[in-house]
């Protein structure tokens, strides 16, 4: 106790400003008066870095330009959607499909609604590390996969080739695909995005064979540009029956979902969310700031916003 007290009084000697003078965040930063209306703005953070990038860019703009009191809430997809109804979540900024959740929360409960595309295009598919695409150029055609299945054998896949799946956040058709395309492969579940990324990173560094489920936009693509394997092209309806799927995954138009209450509140943050639109490259830049350069999400967002004033301007006009 006494030690701390002494330290305290020592510090008094060199004391500067008292708390009244401390910089209280300026809540009325906008110059058009409208900004004052924005108070609390709750953004759900689904657990992947690309999402975090989009959310913090929107949040950063809302905070600095609109004077919102932004709160980020780390939540898995479904839990975040549950929050629309209770007023705990205003926006899910990057939604990958999730027709079942849309059915429940938009159609049935009416607590949520769509707020347009983020401009990001979601690609899901099978990927190999770049060294493999170079060494075996024809491996990127699914019809040749059986010739290479020996390469992909692991302790987990028995006498078949291993297809590494398993980000639990994504729906996969891979078991059905392997079956319906007569591929000599066994789906093995890595279980987390972290494990998938680590597996690909290791495969590229050591030139080990690996075939796995992956997706874009994803920050890891800028560290190791994985090469996509072409499955039979997607056609409308070819994935209607999950047991009979024999085609590639569709392109996902990543969209924004907002709480109905928030959309009708007239908050300037809603207009920002609706106008928010950027490219996969934009998102990967911010995501790489976070995941590779070790910036905090807010630093990363601030850096990008500073470098791209014209885009931000467009969202606000």
């Amino acid at each position: 106790m006494t030690a701390a007290a002494v330290a305290g009084s020592l510090l008094v000697a060199c004391g500067e400003g008292d708390i009244e003078e401390a910089d209280v965040p300026d809540t009325a930063a906008g110059d058009d008066g409208e900004a004052v209306e924005c108070d609390e703005f709750d953004i759900a953070i689904n657990p992947w870095v690309g999402y975090e990038a989009s959310a913090h860019v929107v949040g950063h703009v809302a905070e600095t330009q609109l004077g919102c009191d932004v709160e980020y809430k780390n939540l898995a997809e479904e839990v975040a959607w549950q929050g629309f109804g209770s007023g705990e979540v205003d926006v899910v900024i990057e939604n990958w499909g999730h027709e079942d959740l849309k059915q429940t929360y938009i159609e049935e409960q009416g607590t949520a609604q769509e707020a347009g595309s983020t401009g990001n295009e979601g690609v899901i598919g099978w990927y190999v590390p770049p060294w493999m695409a170079e060494e075996y150029p024809d491996i990127t055609d699914w019809q040749n996969l059986n010739e290479y299945s020996d390469l992909f054998q692991t302790s987990e896949s028995g006498d078949k080739g291993q297809l590494l799946d398993g980000d639990p956040g994504f729906v996969t058709n891979d078991e059905a695909l392997v079956e319906n395309l007569d591929l000599d492969y066994e789906v093995v579940y890595a279980g987390s995005e972290a494990a998938l990324i680590q597996a690909f990173r290791r495969a590229e560094e050591n030139r080990e064979p690996l075939l796995g489920y992956f997706y874009d936009p994803q920050w890891f693509m800028s560290e190791v540009p994985l090469v996509k394997v072409d499955l039979p092209p997607y056609e409308e309806g070819c994935d209607a029956d999950p047991e009979a799927v024999d085609c590639d995954y569709p392109l996902y138009d990543l969209d924004k979902i907002v709480a109905t209450e928030f959309a009708e509140s007239g908050s300037p943050a809603y207009d920002l969310v609706e106008a928010f639109n950027w490219t996969n490259e934009d998102q990967n830049v911010v995501a790489a700031y976070i995941a590779q350069d070790g910036m905090s999400p807010d630093e990363a967002a601030a850096t990008w916003v500073e470098d791209n004033p014209d885009k931000v301007e467009e969202w606000l006009s």
């Binding site: 106790m1 701390a4 007290a5 839990v79 692991t154 972290a194 990324i197 680590q198 995941a291």
Partner: protein, 668 residues
Amino acid sequence: MTTTASPPTRTVSPPPAQQRRGLGLRSFGRRGALAVVVVAWLGLWTALRGRATLEIGGAELTGFHEWLDRQRDSLAAQRDTNWLLQYGVGGISDGLNATVDFLRELISEPAFPRPFPEIGYLGVIGVFCLIAYAVAGLRSMLLVLVSLLAFGALGYWELSLDLLIVTLVAVTICVLIGLPLAIVMARSRKVDAVVTPALDLLQTLPSFAYLAPLALFFGIGPAAAVVTTALYAFPPVVRVAAHGIRHVAPTTVEASRSLGSTPWQQLRTVQLPMAKRTIVVGVNQTTMAALSMATIAALINGPGLGQPVAQALQSLDVGAAVVASLGIVIMAVMLDRVTTAASVRGELATRRGDSARLRRTALAVGVVSAGYLVYLSRTFSWAADVPESPDLGTPIADATSDASDWFIDTFRDSTQALKDGFSYGLLNPLQSVLADSPWFVSATALLAIAGIIAGRRAVVSTAICELVILGTGLWNEAMNTLTTTLVAAAFTMLIAIVVGVWMGRGRLVDTVVRPLLDTLQTLPPFVYLVPFVALFAASRFTAIVAAVAFAAPVAIKLVADGIRGVSPTTVEAARSAGSSSWQTITKVQLPMARGSVVLAANQGLLYVFSMVVIGGLVGGGGLGYLVVLGFRQAELFGKGLAAGIAITALAVMLDRIARYAVTRTGRT
């Protein structure tokens, strides 16, 4: 933590009414019978493998899974109309949120319109040091001071305090509900028989399985985090406290009764005071369990240090994850040592003859100083704000990242070979026999084995658990998980006995190894997942290594304490009779420490099972992966919960077989 070694979370008190019938079989006959069963199993496996394995596809749902989904949906639909949900659950949730928010604004979060909490940095340090001194003494105060400074220096001041708040609120709830329950349990066999399985369920049902609905009812916020944490942390305090109260010497209780005490007086004046030490151990273990939920609570936006750990995992940033986890470890050590010290302070002070006047003076000085610091932290921003230097977080993060990279680069090839050898040599064959045999063959074989090694009661337990697993529709996945958990439990015990004996026989070894074990035990397992995947790829082996890393420390400590507890004169006698070290260990020390070894096996098993879900995140597959899947995908919720139930059934099954087997061999 040191206290984990004292009375058990799960007391392996001998199952009542040991039957003697099964003992007709001589040990040799038992071995023979076991051999017959195994040979028959292998024969049927060869002939019938791949048939009737009850394997189901990744997205396939059974009627039971869909039924669970419908239950969730209908509960969700009633959220705003059902009286109980709206006012009961809603009220609890509002109350918890208000409590946590109040505490946060008090010490960790800016209290609007102030840019700082009501009590800032220096004030918090002052108040906490004062509390530590008052309840636990000078040494604890210094520990608290160092810990608090460390939270700031690691760069996680606010999140550390948030974690402390959530933990303390959850533990308070556990104690408020748990102690009365423990008292009732200790006095009534009937209540005990009902509550024990419920506690088993709470301790083994993975929280991932019910996290999403919990957030649905308690909202997204501190309340859901507190409830999740409290649910998991609840069993230890009840179990240990009931154990303590029940084992107060019967003669003492008798004496008080003959003096005419009413049951209430007995409880208040004899049983509770005499069980105080044990009860504190229970509270302490509940606190540790609560801290271990930090990372999981973060998945539903629970405030605290779990958040940076979970986030670092997304970008595979081992360094950042370690720094945040270090905060959790420090918190664990701090709470453990302070609560332990607090429980013995009174006696110790009397025994040492500390001057009460000196203490009163010190307390008065402390109150004044703390008050002054609070005043400063309310008035000046330099006193309210966390100092920016020294920054220990960045160098530690960099150093750990480098160390982890170096380790991975150096050992990658050998670890890969190790994983392959192990998987092809042991794991795959074992899994094939368990999971590729027709379900009725495996089920019957398991029943027969349970009967041979553990008797009739074990057969009944095993049969019930098998029925539950069949009911979940996940038999095949359950057999895969059984394979990895059996192997992990076996390795845990092997390591526990080797290292435990080594520690138990040498003070120096103990001093060096114990802090390492404490750290491993409180480190969130999420942290070593990334390096482990780098070393062993995403595989069942990785899941096993992670489970062993988490379970071994507890088991090692229990074995070590048991070995140390063997009377030195007995050991000396054996030695002077010419026993070699090996003979002393195998013939004297281990048999005499049998109780501790059994307890170690029991705890090791439970810890291994608590890692099934974490294993699912790194390629363990099986039930663990399904539970994670159920949490992340709404339409698979039912399947995930079913997988959680199957995990519980497996854990209970192995636990019962082991327990009955032990009491039985103990009597032969």
